[in-house]
Symmetry: C2
Subunit: 180 residues, 2 copies
């Protein structure tokens, strides 16, 4: 039995998180950290038992294999090993969020999926049926968006639950705004 605040099932908030494009694993991107901090300070506040946070991290197969470009794959075991390393990197990212929730006493769950983030997030929303989805956003202008696509815009249009997009603070924006 999960704890609640006496107002029925906790509000299930799915938070999509990814690693920093500048610092790599296990560091969360600026925008996913912003989304998480916003969720804590503006929604959960003091009501730790009223919410349950669901952290979804989607690994992009090609991108996450990039570090291994110089590696030699001589046997099926080598690929298996690479997959294990990917998984461990993702787990370290999720640890950041789960530890934080644990310290505060907030119920949470975290898991990893592989694929195209925007598609996977929407299919996981369909499967898990959270009350809302929180996605971070780099707050890119229209010109920058053309080249990078934005997961948040796709989710706002296609996810089967209310979606809220949290932009990074202007003062946390790196030199190249496409970085995160």
């Amino acid at each position: 039995m999960e704890r609640t605040d006496g107002y029925g099932e906790p509000t299930k908030v799915m938070v999509a998180v990814n690693e920093s494009s500048l610092k790599g694993y296990p560091h969360p991107s600026i925008s996913s950290r912003s989304a998480f901090e916003w969720t804590l300070s503006k929604l959960v506040r003091s009501n730790f038992s009223g919410f349950k946070l669901l952290f979804l991290h989607v690994q992009i197969p090609d991108e996450d294999g990039f570090d291994d470009m110089d590696s030699i794959y001589a046997s099926p075991a080598d690929f298996k090993r690479m997959k294990a390393i990917d998984k461990i990197r993702g787990l370290h990212l999720l640890e950041f969020f789960v530890n934080h929730c644990h310290q505060l006493g907030i119920n949470c769950e975290a898991w990893i999926r592989k694929g195209d983030p925007k598609e996977v997030i929407c299919s996981e929303v369909k499967r898990v049926q959270p009350d809302m989805l929180v996605v971070g956003s780099r707050g890119l202008g229209p010109f920058q968006r053309v080249f990078v696509g934005t997961v948040s815009e796709f989710c706002v249009k296609h996810a089967d639950c209310p979606v809220i997009t949290i932009r990074r603070n202007a003062n946390e924006c790196p030199q190249d705004p496409v970085d995160d």
Copy 2:
């Protein structure tokens, strides 16, 4: 001094509300009632002192004058009287939301503006700087949207704060989905 839950300023949630296109004033539209009920049950929950709700009702000048088509305006006083009636209708709508909050002990404020709802909502967000904006939506398909435009889509793109769109329940959808 406002009450809080001990976690800083209450989270300011602006909720855009309008009257029912079927029943008229003082009845709230299905979608604004859904947005309000969602805000209470999923965000505020038991944390009444942690949130402050800001109800904004935007009256559309032409549309709200429609009932007075058969009236005769013979003097400036007649126009003044019409404006007073509009205002009273809007106030009765806001009363629904404010009374509900008052019963629960949730801080709130409510006010009326005139103009194009999507523009006015975004300019009020700029002025009031809420932590988030909740807008109801009829959940219209692309074909229906062409003719009616949607306030929620505009706000998601242009409002200067995080925006969450709450769709009506399918079972509350009237025969003509453009009605609300």
